[in-house]
């Protein structure tokens, strides 16, 4: 696998992870399902995977970048499995509405598993790590993917501040803490 092909695959992976984060945002903003603390930590795992992919896109593929990708996915996987186990007892309806038959945390566990296996498989191709002086630093698609990743990281940060204010999030959030009475509304009141 050439460095250029590896970079292309990393760009596509980065866009794929951004799509996952955008689906979560649509569910939050359009359907009003606020993410729970464990949901937020799974999002953080995805953003970590996105940042590791972005390192490969910007600086070329390196084993250390894949290592960070696997570690980020492992953290997200652990959180997702923890949430699955919280709702594994018979009769438990789970947290949130199912999406395509599975809850978001079940999808997250599957996707983190795919990332771990995918990154480990890509590590098998040594030729991608050879220095390629002709490899361009930027391409249009790479720039779009990096911009999307940056926007997803920042958007989740801002959304989390609105939802949880400066502290830890409630276990079952029903509203944006910072937008309630006594939050930002008082701050901007005349």
């Amino acid at each position: 696998m050439t460095p250029a092909l590896s970079r292309t695959l990393n760009i596509l992976g980065l866009i794929g992870i951004c799509v996952v984060l955008m689906v979560a945002f649509v569910d939050q903003l359009a359907f009003g399902e606020l993410p729970c603390p464990l949901c937020l930590l799974q999002r953080a795992g995805f953003v970590g995977v996105a940042a590791a992919l972005a390192l490969n896109v910007r600086f070329g593929p390196r084993p250390s970048h894949y290592g960070l990708m696997i570690l980020s996915a492992a953290v997200g996987f652990a959180v997702a499995v923890r949430q699955m186990l919280l709702h594994i007892a018979p009769g438990d309806a789970g947290f949130g509405a199912p999406f395509l038959g599975l809850h978001f945390y079940s999808w997250a566990a599957i996707l983190f598993g795919v990332v771990i296996v995918g990154a480990a498989a890509l590590l098998l191709f040594d030729r991608q790590f050879s220095f390629d002086p002709g490899l361009p630093t930027w391409s249009g698609l790479a720039l779009v993917a990096l911009g999307l990743g940056f926007a997803m990281a920042l958007g989740n940060g801002v959304s989390t501040v609105l939802e949880c204010a400066g502290g830890l999030c409630p276990d079952n959030p029903t509203s944006y803490l910072l937008l309630q009475e006594g939050g930002l509304k008082n701050f901007f009141a005349p």
């Binding site: 603390p37 464990l38 940042a51 390192l55 910007r58 919280l86 940056f150």
Partner: protein
């Protein structure tokens, strides 16, 4: 508090865009550690299963 990892990752992305690889890697690693610490804080409920 819960937003810390996201802002850490945001800064890591900024480092990537600015061409600062070492800074971006350090910020990514720190944000991952922050995520793990927050996970430890939130993983307090007993699981409804007996193993």
């Amino acid at each position: 508090m819960m937003s810390l990892p996201f802002f850490g990752f945001t800064l890591a992305f900024a480092g990537i865009l600015a061409g600062q690889r070492r800074l971006a890697v350090a910020l990514l690693a720190l944000s991952l550690i922050a995520t793990l610490v927050l996970f430890k804080v939130h993983a307090t409920d007993a699981l409804p299963i007996s193993l």
